[in-house]
Subunit: 422 residues, 2 copies
């Protein structure tokens, strides 16, 4: 991976005529967004907001008596992982064994794979990582007897005698993975307990599918679900099915982390680690998570909390008819899965700072490489060469479109960079 | 870029416990999809179908007397670019200057940027590439006086005296970029002709927004639009506004290339190169382009033409309730912008080859890392560890989710690989 830490013109967003550099040395270039030193589109991180979010979320979790294992699949950025761990994160979460490899190389030593692992190549990958790092722990999810059988088959074929760590997943009927009923869960937990290939380290769930941005309804639905999960944890404890010194009790926690955190504190016969796996808090957004956070702030009585730290700058390339401008930014550059991007700031050509976008500017469609900006032609109109800053909805599907992002200060100066490894 | 040609466990889809290799040496590993040598999800290229498509499209264009400059933004793969050029492509098309850099390093020497270029950093990038490669030609699009002024401003600040090559873009009212009327177009063409910073090499348009999978209607709408474009080319020729030895007349041609190709043959006072910029033909698909191709085959009286060459294999990770299975494949792995993926083949755990997916299997949703497969629980049900092959809709937004893809033969054996540089 070390080669990939070189930033050069082979990476989208890097000035195509500039010499290579590293994330650590990029600040010396003195590049500034508003001087057009970098080509657009460009996804940028607000250095101050990013730092704020890392500290704010860590403090929130500490205050609630839970740990965090931030979901690394949001950013897949080693430099961000290192900052999350340095700020006090208990570990990191990933979705795949490939992603775990990036996290381990970044220094993570407690990792939850919030997913079922089922492929030989992935079990081999876990075994290789564990063998190379004696202090590494990796827990993955198990939710069926069939999966246990498949793991036992792999272990037998490889002659492996050491158990792999796992968490049992509890799911929501009609939604994603995980055991649907108490009876199912206890059957699977007994099966894991009886297997030499696995060690049951705790209980996991993902509550995000129950959150629909309904302030009271979300709280009620998520609390009811988490109460069921707590009940299963208590029954497993009473049956002595947990096999480690402590018990991990983990939930997602990106959209309704205020409701989730207190539910992860539980008294069992062994110490319990409540682990929030929030991912999107790191940069927050101007769309889906912004709406969710309004509810969290209202429920918690907070005046402020997370700040949007990720946006994409694009340039007006054409204003072909009144009321329509085309921007150099498309499906390859910004998330569009939850909602379309929205103009948040604007810097006319030549301006050395940004102002709020005029009222009524709206992105109505994206092609692979274009954004359609509609505006009121009788009001402020964008011109060719103007810069438009797009707020995002869903950090995960914006990060995965870039190999690096600069961090910028309030004046648009590049003060650092991170690399991204999807 | 040479470092990026090493395949290793830092890249999604590469076996996490395997030693690195190169695309040229991967076949020696003897890896096979059905032996689970590679982790899933994995996007794979059908080696035979890919080769067929390259040859078929080249022959189609040659037969119609037009050139092709395949759109590189579909694959961003140097190995594929080299095969397209070796098969006879006149040049390559790209959407951004970053992409052009990848194409030039792969050996392309005639490049159309099918987009307006507007940023200083990008003009600097073009100038750097031209200075490094005296045999390189790059044409980009111009559609407004404002853009011409911005290029002149850049040239003046850099002290550049050599003109940059451009094509004037003609657009469709209410759609994307490009001049809307004959009068607008002639004004812009005269402005380019009068500018020392630019050289007008021809006319470009993108007709794809007029194709709605209506067999007769598409043909009528696209033909009418292209007739307007031809008329503008003739007027520019009569006014002696073209400034090169020959004139480029170029259109998109992915969805309705049969209608586009004959319209690009035109007699002017200088030789005319008709250039199709089709991108998606290279792998075709099982969705959007498959529907479009049915109409092309019907209009042309063809029994067969392009074949789907790109699909994604995923593994069943959980069957948490009757009728629902979750697959290891999500928004990070496969296109979902035009329609959701569809199961096309299926290999039960342990099977050494694939069979058609059972009737009624359907992908109903994707999360970042999961696919929801619904099935009739009274019929063939998928089991944990089974492999499902997903057909795609829109190659561009599947390629951009991978850094490499293996090429496989009909038996699932890896016979080669390509790297991908978005």
């Amino acid at each position: 991976m070390s080669n990939a830490f070189i930033l050069d013109s082979g990476l989208k967003g890097f000035p195509p005529a500039a010499e290579p550099c590293t994330p650590d040395t990029i600040a010396a270039r003195g590049w500034n967004l508003f001087r057009d030193d970098l080509p657009l589109p460009l996804a940028v991180l607000d250095a101050e907001a990013l730092e704020h979010n890392i500290r704010w979320m860590q403090a929130f979790a500490a205050d609630r008596g839970v740990d965090i294992a931030p979901h690394g699949k949001t950013t897949m950025s080693p430099q961000i992982f290192q900052r999350q761990l340095a700020a006090g994160a208990w570990g990191l979460t990933f979705a795949t064994v490939f992603q775990v490899g990036v996290g381990v190389r970044a220094g993570a030593r407690r990792i939850i794979i919030a997913n079922q692992v089922v492929a030989d190549a992935d079990f081999d990958g876990i075994a290789t990582l564990l063998a190379a790092h004696p202090d590494l722990r990796i827990w993955f999810l198990v939710d069926s007897d069939a999966q246990v059988a498949l793991i036992e088959d792999w272990a037998q074929r490889r002659g492996r005698t050491q158990p792999l760590d796992c968490l049992m997943e509890i799911g929501v009927p009609g939604q994603r993975t995980g055991c649907r009923t108490v009876a199912q869960a206890l059957t699977v937990a007994r099966r894991i307990h009886g297997s030499a290939a696995l060690r049951l380290g705790g209980i996991e769930c993902y509550e995000g599918g129950l959150a629909h941005c309904d302030r009271a309804g979300d709280q009620q639905a998520v609390t009811a679900f988490l109460n069921g999960v707590r009940d299963i944890a208590q029954q497993c404890d009473a049956l002595n099915l947990f096999e480690d010194e402590s018990v991990i009790l983990s939930a997602g926690g990106s959209a309704v982390f205020d409701v989730v955190a207190p539910a992860l504190r539980l008294t069992l016969s062994r110490p319990v680690h409540g682990v929030l796996r929030s991912g999107c808090y790191i940069t927050h957004d101007h769309g889906f998570y912004a709406s969710m956070l309004h509810n969290i702030e209202a429920r918690e009585g907070l005046d402020a909390s997370l700040r949007p730290a990720l946006s994409v700058w694009a340039m007006v390339q054409s204003v072909p008819e009144p009321g329509l401008a085309l921007l150099t930014c498309g499906k390859r550059d910004i998330s569009f899965d939850l909602s379309l991007p929205q103009p948040v700031r604007y810097a006319p050509r030549g301006a050395t700072n940004a102002q709020p976008s005029p009222e009524g500017w709206k992105i109505t469609a994206l092609n692979d490489q274009h954004a359609y900006l509609h505006f009121d032609p009788s009001s402020v109109a964008p011109a060719v060469g103007d810069r438009v800053n797009l707020g995002i909805s869903h950090p995960c599907t914006t990060f995965d479109k870039w190999h690096w992002m600069p961090q910028v200060d309030g004046a648009g100066t590049v003060v650092g960079a991170v690399t991204i490894h999807f």
